[in-house]
């Protein structure tokens, strides 16, 4: 087994040097990490699993990578090897991203971006890598299904002043402020995305389309009391019946409050706050505005 291991590692190195990532991963996968024939320590097992997962991820192969990351997850909790632990976290985030579990991926990317140490083992953690993780967290959050959970992560990211330096910040700001995104902004955002984030879904929308349509629909629900599906379709840039389908799913999944009148072909958005609370809020706003005026007067010496 020792000789097999050495040969496989050598061959894998060669495949890697030729950037044949999956072949290198397959070569290493043949190593029997659970053999009873010899003693293999957990750190070695963990390092191999993570290495194989990273190789599969170079080819965006989430399925095979996940198989090895799942194996690694039993080993990583006892591992003191910080470099391996970090590599495991990055693999896990990328697998979630590839599997379009965007909100979970965003949280893991964000966690990685907050690493304080700049030196782990003999690995240098440079700012650029952390910035990439932060940017990936923003991208995945924007692509996640619109709703309360996503809004909470958006708020966290928007308030993290590191984000204001990211190239993606303008669209993060608009998404956080629940503004309707227009086509030019969406196209600019699309340029920064990875292929799987623009992949076609069964309903013939891409991942990006769905995220943007849901986001704009939720943004519209903050601006409208009600809207006809014809007009909503025009606003979202999709056929009215598709707008109705997406709206009904979001309402059903409790990611948007509202009701659909199919006879009139109109959607009525419910305001999260009840009328009485709205009345209270309006009065609170009025009192604050009054205070602002009094403060301004005091500042100006009146």
């Amino acid at each position: 087994e020792e000789q097999v291991l050495v040969i496989r590692e050598k061959l894998a190195e060669l495949y890697e040097s030729e950037e044949q990532w999956s072949k290198a991963a397959q070569m290493l996968s043949g190593i029997d990490l659970d053999s009873g024939m010899r003693v293999i320590d957990d750190t070695f097992r963990l390092s191999k699993c993570v290495q194989i997962a990273r190789l599969y991820l170079e080819d965006d192969d989430a399925v095979n990578a996940e198989a090895f990351i799942n194996k690694a997850s039993f080993l990583v909790s006892n591992s003191q090897h910080e470099v391996l632990n970090l590599q495991y976290k990055v693999c896990y985030a990328r697998i979630l991203d590839l599997k379009r579990k965007f909100l979970e991926a965003a949280l893991r990317y964000y966690d990685i971006s907050q690493i304080e140490k700049r030196q782990i083992g003999d690995e240098e953690i440079d700012e650029e890598a952390l910035e990439q993780a932060l940017s990936a967290a923003v991208t995945c959050t924007i692509l996640a299904a619109a709703g309360p959970q996503r809004s909470r992560v958006l708020a966290t990211l928007y308030k993290d002043e590191r984000c204001s330096k990211l190239k993606i910040y303008p669209i993060l700001q608009k998404v956080y402020l629940e503004r309707i995104l227009r086509k030019p902004e969406i196209d600019a955002f699309a340029e920064e995305l990875k292929p799987h984030q623009k992949a076609l879904l069964p309903d013939n929308f891409t991942v990006l389309d769905r995220a943007m349509i849901e986001h704009n629909l939720l943004s519209a629900s903050k601006l409208y009391t009600n809207i006809s599906f014809d007009e909503l379709g025009t606003l979202l840039g999709i056929p009215p019946h598709k707008a109705e389908k997406i709206a009904s799913r979001m309402i059903y999944e409790d990611r948007m409050r509202g009701s659909i009148d199919q006879v009139e072909a109109v959607i009525h958005f419910d305001d999260d706050t009840e009328e009485l609370q709205q009345w209270d809020q309006q009065i609170v706003g009025l009192c604050q505005a009054l205070n602002d005026v009094l403060d301004s007067m005091a500042k100006k010496g009146f």
Partner: protein
């Protein structure tokens, strides 16, 4: 009031520029054009009240003074009915004047009918009107509200203040004094309600005590 904070620096900038332009009429004219084109400026009375700006009245650039007055108090319709006597507006100015028109309409009503908005803003369809209200008004921060397509109206919850016309001061003071007396009456009413609730509470308490005492007596007499 963040719209006021946002534009106060811009106002100061133009006042400084206008003051240093002294009485050079053409410089002032281009400054007025620049101010009435600025995307984040919706208040012009400070500039309008500068002496050297007012002196434009007697010069061949008096049309720019009229234009500044239009942006301080007028609407898009006012411009159309006086276009021959005013300088040609550039697209940024037209956009701004239409934004200011929405503020003027929100001055008197909280619910603005689409038909009236479309007429006042020269807009031909609902989509165009709503895009204008969304992008150029709500997202610009000058108004907040809700679009109601079924009722074909825009419900205004907040609108930034426009420059005041002199005549407005009177009814503003009138409205404020109404508020004051209404608020005082409200406070008196609330005080009375609290007193009433307290006294009712005491009566309740006394009644409860009487009943408990009676229960005790009955119990004793039973034994």
């Amino acid at each position: 009031m963040d719209i006021e904070q946002k534009q106060s620096e811009i106002i100061d900038h133009f006042i400084k520029e206008a003051s240093s332009a002294s009485s050079n009429a053409s410089t002032l004219a281009s400054l007025i054009t620049e101010a009435t084109s600025h995307p984040s400026l919706f208040a012009f009375s400070e500039i309008l009240s500068l002496p050297n700006v007012l002196q434009l009245e007697a010069t061949e650039n008096s049309a720019y003074l009229d234009m500044l007055r239009l942006f301080a108090h007028g609407t898009w319709s006012d411009y159309k009915s006086n276009a021959s006597r005013l300088p040609q507006l550039v697209p940024d100015q037209i956009l701004k004047l239409k934004q200011l028109t929405v503020l003027t309409m929100a001055d008197t009503h909280k619910v603005l009918p689409y038909d009236q908005l479309m007429q006042e803003l020269d807009v031909s369809n609902v989509r165009e009107l709503e895009d204008f209200l969304i992008n150029e008004c709500m997202y610009a921060g000058i108004v907040r509200g809700k679009l109601d397509q079924l009722q074909r109206c825009f419900e205004v919850q907040f609108a930034a203040g426009r420059d005041l016309r002199p005549a407005q001061l009177g009814n503003m003071i009138h409205t404020l004094s109404n508020w004051l007396s209404t608020s005082e009456n409200l406070l008196v009413t609330i005080q009375e309600k609290i007193k009433w609730a307290d006294s009712m509470g005491e009566i309740d308490m006394k009644h409860r005590k009487d009943v408990e005492e009676k229960v005790e007596e009955v119990k004793k007499s039973l034994f």
